[in-house]
Structures are given as C-alpha cells and as structure tokens.
C-alpha cells in the first residue's frame, strides 16, 4: 500500500514536481498558491534530485525563466494565480509559438483586476482560448482533488513533451487550499544530461556539437509564407491532441435526461446535486471535462440525443457554457448556473437552480 499523506493541493503540486523528475521551478508569490514555492523551498530538492528552485522578481520573469529552461529541453514549471497568469500571457504565447514544453499551474482566484483571493473559475477563457496573442492552445488539465493536483504534474509534463506544447493545470483556490489524503507514486529520477540530449538534441539549446549546426529557438518569422506554414503545423498538432488526449469522467450519466457539465471543484459539488436529484426521481447525470483543452466535444455530443436539458455549472459568469452550447447546437436547451466573487454554491443551490428549468 503506497503512502498516503494529508496535504494541501498546492503542496501536492510541489511534492509531485520533485517526485516526477522536474528540473526547475521558477515562481513569484501570490495568494492562493504561495504554498507551492514555500513547500519546494522547505523540501530543498536541489540537495536531493538536483532540481533548481528560484524565486523570480515577477511573474513576467518567472515565465521567461521557464522559457529559457524549456529551450534547454528541461522539465520546467511555474505556478501562479490569475493576475500573475495575466502577466505571463506574453511568455505563454512565445512558448506556444516556439513549441516549448513546460507546465504552468494557475490556482484561480476571482477577478477581474486584483479581484479577490477567494476561489474562482474565471480564467477558463484565458486558459482555453488563448490569453496571450496569436492562435495557440495549451494542454489544460482541471484537477478536482489533491490527488489530481499530484497526478496531473507528471501527466502534464508527459503531454507537454509529447507535443512540445505548454501545459496548464487550471486549478481553483478550493483545490489548492483544501487538505486531502494524497497517495504518492514511485520517484522518477531526473533525466541525465545524456538523456536530455538524446531526447531533445534535434531542437533544444543543449550545446551545439560537431554533428550539427547551432539550434535556434525562436517564434519569429518575418516571411508570411513561413509563418502560415508554422501556424498550420500548430493547428494540426492541436487537432491531433483533440483526437488523442481528451480526458473526462461521468457520474450517473448513462441514462441521464438532464446533464450537468462541471469541472474542477464544482464537479465534486455537483455529484451531490445529481444524487439529490436522483433521490427525487429526476434522471440527472454529470460529465466532468478533465482536459479543458482538448475539450471532450465528441463525448458530450454523444450524450445529446438522450437529453432533455443540459446545465453548465461554473464559478464564473458563464464561460464553458459557450463551448457546450456549440456542441448542443440548438438540439437541447443549455442552461447556466454560476456564482462569482469567490462564492461556492451548495449542491442544493445548484439543484434548485436547475429545477427552475426542468
């Protein structure tokens, strides 16, 4: 039986980074995720695995440190919360343009602006539709538990390197701050210099050898033909991810006539909503997108014929609901329920809201 430790979601991110052979973490303090860097500093992984941990002077700098580390083929990451991620938007666009793998954790808080330090899911658009400039996507995972926080670090790096794409764990303040039992996985050692070179020499700045000319990592192409080819290549990559990398789960959805769609902490709360509805004889179910990009379009689409209604439940003013309405395409009504400003609705509150439409 593997070890189970009671820790915060943010701490789980830090421990997972050490356990999965992460090479470097660069961050800047911001509530509600400061425990990530605090835990790493306390754990001193540079003395054990050799992982570099550095407090940067800003989120702008930390994302660009991530860019530098990613250029070298290293497994590098940062974490922040909404206002900090906005500062990182430029860097994320460059990372996507230059096709660099990395991990960014966003433990969302309410906005806009400095907003609140309470939980939110208001950065769904920013995470899944861009945030930075230009046409790009990130691999976006939405954890719903401390265990997810732990497991998704390794998963995010795996997909980030497979597609050479920035990955984001889009958590909310609830998941970051909540203490839960987390089961640790066996330690993965950091890759040796030789292993990094073997894996990334074709593109990374690992030092030019006699066997090749210098590698250049850039997102710049002045020639429009070159830029268009590059954009088409990026889009093909995203398409491939939509085919192969979708993750989701369902709860009592097999015979559902009314389907809740919720991610992150809301997906757990809505399980209770479904149970309550079922007790009242209403055929309700839940689908939880685990990857927000790629979004489980086909999987939600497959449910539509059996449904009478759908409702998206989010901690924002209605963002994911737009994607769901596109999938439903008028075949069933798609409703929305959300709270903002850091308020978390109860299962009963969600059910009451849904019952108004049923």
């Amino acid at each position: 039986m593997a070890e189970k430790i009671l820790i915060k979601g943010n701490e789980a991110i830090a421990i997972a980074a050490i356990h999965c052979g992460c090479d470097g973490y660069f961050g800047y303090p911001i509530t509600p995720q400061s425990e990530v860097m605090e835990t790493l500093m306390k754990e001193k992984p540079w003395e054990t695995t050799g992982m570099v941990v550095l407090q940067a002077e800003s989120e702008t700098s930390s994302i660009n440190m991530v860019y530098g580390g990613a250029c070298c083929g290293k497994k590098v990451m940062t974490s922040s919360s909404s206002p900090g991620v906005s500062l990182m938007a430029e860097g994320l666009s460059y990372l996507a343009g230059a096709e660099l793998p990395c991990l960014v954790v966003n433990v969302m808080r309410g906005g806009p602006g400095l907003g609140t330090i309470q939980p939110s899911q208001g950065d769904y658009f920013q995470a899944t539709k861009g945030g930075g400039h230009g046409d790009y996507r990130m691999y976006v995972l939405a954890p719903a538990s401390g265990q997810d926080m732990y497991d998704f670090v390794d998963k995010a790096f795996e997909v980030a390197f497979k597609y050479r794409i920035p990955a984001m764990i889009l958590a909310d303040g609830v998941i970051g701050q909540m203490m839960e039992k987390v089961e640790f996985r066996p330690m993965k050692p950091r890759r040796t210099e030789e292993e990094v070179k073997a894996q990334c020499d074709a593109w990374a700045t690992v030092g030019k050898g006699a066997h090749r000319g210098g590698n250049t990592i850039t997102s710049l192409a002045l020639d429009p033909e070159v830029q268009e080819r590059h954009n088409i290549h990026l889009q093909a990559k995203y398409k491939e991810m939509e085919e192969n990398e979708v993750l989701y789960e369902t709860y009592r959805a097999e015979d559902a006539e009314h389907l809740i769609v919720a991610f992150g902490c809301m997906s757990r709360i809505c399980q209770n909503t479904v149970d309550e509805a079922r007790e009242r004889g209403i055929k309700m179910g839940l689908i939880r997108p685990i990857t927000l990009f790629p979004f489980p379009k086909k999987e939600i689409d497959a449910f539509v014929p059996q449904l009478k209604t759908m409702m998206s439940v989010e901690l924002n003013a209605g963002q994911m609901v737009e994607d769901i309405r596109q999938i439903a395409n008028g075949r069933v009504p798609v409703y929305f329920y959300g709270r903002q400003g850091g308020i978390i609705p109860s299962p009963e509150e969600v059910l009451e809201a849904y019952l108004k439409h049923i």
Binding site: D23, G24, F26, V52, L54, A56, E57, S58, T60, S61, S62, N64, M65, V66, Y67, G68, G69, C71, C72, K74, V76, E90, G91, Y94, A98, A204, T205, V206, G207, K208, G209, A210, G213, G214, N215, T216, I217, T218, S219, L220
Partner: protein
C-alpha cells in the same frame, strides 16, 4: 614582392572566424552590431567553447543574432533575455550563457530582468549595445538617447521636461553586489575594438569561474538612425556619446 606571393594560406594573419556563419548580416553598412558579433565569435573560437555556449538574442535589430553566430540560440521576448539566461545557466552550470541586448531591450522594457539577474549575481555574460536609439523600429528615442538628440519621437530634440533624462544604466548595474565585472567599451577603431574583445573575453572567463555577472556595455553607432555616414557617426559618437558615457572599467573584482 608580388601580391600573389603574399596572399598565401601560410601568410594569413587575420580572417573570418568559423564561428560566424556564412550569412550576410542584415545590419546597415558600418553598424557596430556586426563588429561586436565578430568579436564575440572570435572570443568563442579562441576559448574553444562553441559547443558549450548558449546565446540569448533580444528584440530589436540584433534579434537575428542567431543567424550569424553558429552556436545554440534562444530568442527572448522583449527585455526578458536575462530571465532566460538565469534559468539556462542554473540548469546547465557547465555552459557559457550570454545575453546580447540593445538599449531599448535592456534599459527600457527589460529593466527589471537585468537588474535582478545582476543583483542575484547570475554567472552569465551580458553584452549591452548602447547606440542611444531604437534601430529596428525606425529610430525612436531610447532610454539612453542624449539630451537634445533628434529621433523619430523627439523630433525637436530630447527635452528632459518632456522626455526625461538619459539613463546611465551601466553605472546603476555597477552598484549591484552580484556583478563582478562592469565595463564600458566601444569598437569604432582598431584599438577600441581590441580592448572591447579583451573585455568580452574576460567576461566569459569570469562566468566559468563563477564570479557573478559580467556586464559589458559597448557604446555603438546607429548611423541610419542618426542619419549620418558610418565614418561621421563614429566621430559624432566620440564627440557626443563618450563625454556622457565615459569608457572604461567601472568594476573589476
């Protein structure tokens, strides 16, 4: 003696370093960037560190530095090169890591990154080209533009009331504990170019010794931006830039 008898491989005393790629540089005729690129390339060749050097290019005219030096390159977002260099060096302590930045990149938009990289004493080399103007975007005012200097955004000359004062960022950098070597050089004549090369070499050697950040400013010309011939620009630089940006070592320890 016939010239043909002189021009023989065994008599060659100066030639193009193989660290420079064959690409023709996109810089304007007489641009200091070319000379500095060449000096950096020569230092890399002489130290035998071509396979261990990672360059970080900025945004600005020298964004394309990666087309000219045959080493591994990272192209940074505007002003962020020192952040890239920080991570690159910390994750690869055996590599030589240098940033190559202009005055807009380093002294304006990238002020925070350069200050903190130098303050942390990252074991990197910073090559800072100060030609007192934004070259790439068409000759606008830079933080280092001299008072009275005419640029595209100071068409009546830089007025401190309107545009603030020129920034002596290298003097500020020299105050930071993390820097071990801070110097200001130029490349407009053979003596200055040879001195600048020595400074660049020292900077690379410092980084191998783990002494902290080495910062080499090169006061250069932008003859297109200044609207002068290359030779006249060099003279103008000596007469106008050097009194405000005096050459020499500010710190060497």
């Amino acid at each position: 003696m016939d010239i043909k008898d002189i021009i023989k491989p065994e008599n060659k005393v100066y030639g193009r370093t193989p660290v420079l790629k064959e690409n023709v540089m996109h810089y304007c005729p007489g641009c200091s960037h070319g000379t500095v690129h060449k000096l950096v390339a020569e230092v890399i060749e002489e130290m035998g560190i071509q396979d261990k050097t990672i360059g970080i290019s900025p945004v600005g005219c020298s964004v394309f530095a990666y087309n000219y030096l045959d080493i591994d390159w990272q192209q940074a977002a505007h002003g962020r090169a020192p952040a890239l260099a920080t991570a690159t060096k910390r994750l690869n302590p055996d590599k030589y890591v240098f940033t190559y930045q202009g005055d807009g990149d380093l002294a304006s938009i990238g002020c925070a990154e350069i200050m903190h990289a130098c303050s942390r004493g990252e074991n990197i080399v910073v090559i800072f080209i100060n030609n007192a103007i934004y070259g790439m975007t068409g000759g606008q005012m830079a933080p280092t533009t001299l008072l009275g200097m005419v640029t595209a955004t100071t068409p009546y000359g830089r007025d401190p009331k309107l545009n603030g004062f020129p920034l002596k960022i290298t003097e500020l950098i020299a105050q930071l504990e993390g820097t071990c070597y801070v110097t200001r050089q130029s490349v407009q004549n053979p003596a200055s170019a040879r001195k600048a090369k020595k400074a660049i070499r020292k900077a690379f050697e410092n980084s191998a010794m783990g002494k902290g950040t080495s910062f080499v400013e090169i006061v250069g010309t932008c003859n297109s931006g200044w609207k002068m011939t290359p030779v006249k620009a060099n003279k103008w630089m000596e007469e106008n830039m050097f009194p405000f940006y005096p050459l020499g070592d500010m710190k060497d320890r």
